[in-house]
């Protein structure tokens, strides 16, 4: 009787311990949208992601960021950006990434501005590769260069 009770007690404790440890092990994953890190899980649509990640210095008529996708390549963040020129004429823009660490501070030095020629009614794809695994987030700056 006592042996039987002890066995049941031991098995119950083990089962409970197993459940308890399982529930506490997995770390909370930061929210992402289209593979990109976002501050809040409310960023669900592509428009929200673009609004959160892209900053433009002045209006660029007809030119916009159409899509952003993120993935990991060898422990480094890779960003794929689709720039679209819906205008009837060629436009020139320049862009740069700002890489941020887990705390939201700059993870790398200021990048150089990269000039891009956008043909009329065409898409242009740019790729950003994080210079360090510490860079876990980013902002994209787009500046008009037509003048």
């Amino acid at each position: 009787m006592t042996l039987h009770s002890a066995c049941i007690l031991a098995l119950t404790s083990l089962a409970l311990f197993g459940c308890a440890s399982k529930a506490s092990t997995p770390p909370e994953k930061p929210p992402t949208a289209f593979g990109c890190p976002v501050a809040s899980s409310k960023v669900g649509a592509m428009e929200d992601l673009i609004a959160a990640k892209v900053e433009t210095a002045g209006p660029i008529p007809g030119v916009s960021v159409n899509a952003i996708t993120c993935s990991m390549r060898n422990d480094a963040l890779r960003i794929d950006i689709e720039l679209v020129n819906k205008a009837d004429s060629v436009h020139r823009v320049a862009y740069k990434f700002r890489w941020l660490d887990r705390e939201g501070f700059g993870a790398w030095d200021d990048e150089s501005l990269k000039p891009v020629l956008l043909y009329a009614h065409a898409s242009h794809y740019v790729i950003g590769l994080a210079p360090t695994p510490k860079a876990v987030d980013f902002r994209l700056f787009v500046l008009p260069q037509d003048k």
Binding site: R73, N74, D75, A76, A94, K96, D109, D110, E111, S112, L113, K114, P115, L129, P131, T132, Q145
Partner: protein, 192 residues
């Protein structure tokens, strides 16, 4: 009276114009797009260095090997203009070092100074215990070399310059080309 006016008016005009033409100095964005002329410029240097560094840092030689030791050899300037290719490789080297994934051994350009300092410390003037020891230099496993070429086309009102920068990473021990990448830049100047 009229004579005085005739002399004074041009003088005052020249002085005023001289004042207008005064040079203005301003600080600019060192990382901004520079389009003063279509010769090789700061933006080209930065674009090349950044593109090469990011590509190399994502290659398996850097990712999989622990602290690979590299050395920088010559980047040949095959263009018709003067380009300080050392400035390009210095920027690439400093970006790679900053990543913390690569180490650099002394290159041929710095070897003379390295040996001179090493030998100097072997002299009687230095405390033996603290002087650096010879025979401990680390040889590079990989060497970086490359070239830059340009194609220039000029018509009456248009000048087009195309640059192609190629960088290669060679395994010194087995002579294998481990990585190579290119960066192309086109700049066009039109008059008017």
């Amino acid at each position: 009276m009229n004579r005085i006016a005739l002399v004074l008016i041009p003088l005052v005009s020249i002085a005023a114009l001289g004042g207008c033409a005064k040079d203005v100095v301003r600080y600019g964005d060192a990382r901004g797009v520079e389009t003063v002329t279509n010769q090789f410029g700061s933006t080209d240097l930065q674009l090349i260095a950044e593109s090469m560094t990011r590509s190399l840092l994502n290659h398996h030689v850097i990712v999989k090997t622990e602290d690979p030791v590299m050395t920088v050899q010559e980047v040949k300037n095959k263009t018709s203009e003067y380009i300080d290719t050392r400035a390009i490789t210095d920027t690439i080297r400093s970006e790679l070092l900053k990543s913390g994934k690569v180490k650099f051994a002394v290159d041929s350009a710095g070897m003379e100074q390295q040996v001179e300092e090493l030998n100097r410390q072997q002299g009687e003037l230095y405390e033996r215990r603290k002087a650096v020891k010879t025979g401990r230099m680390v040889g590079a496993e990989y060497r970086l070399e490359g070239n830059i070429v340009s194609i220039v086309k000029q018509a009456k009102d248009v000048k087009d310059v195309y640059y192609k920068f190629n960088l290669q990473l060679w395994n010194i021990e087995n002579g294998l080309l481990e990585w190579t990448d290119e960066k192309e830049i086109r700049k066009t100047t039109t008059k008017g």
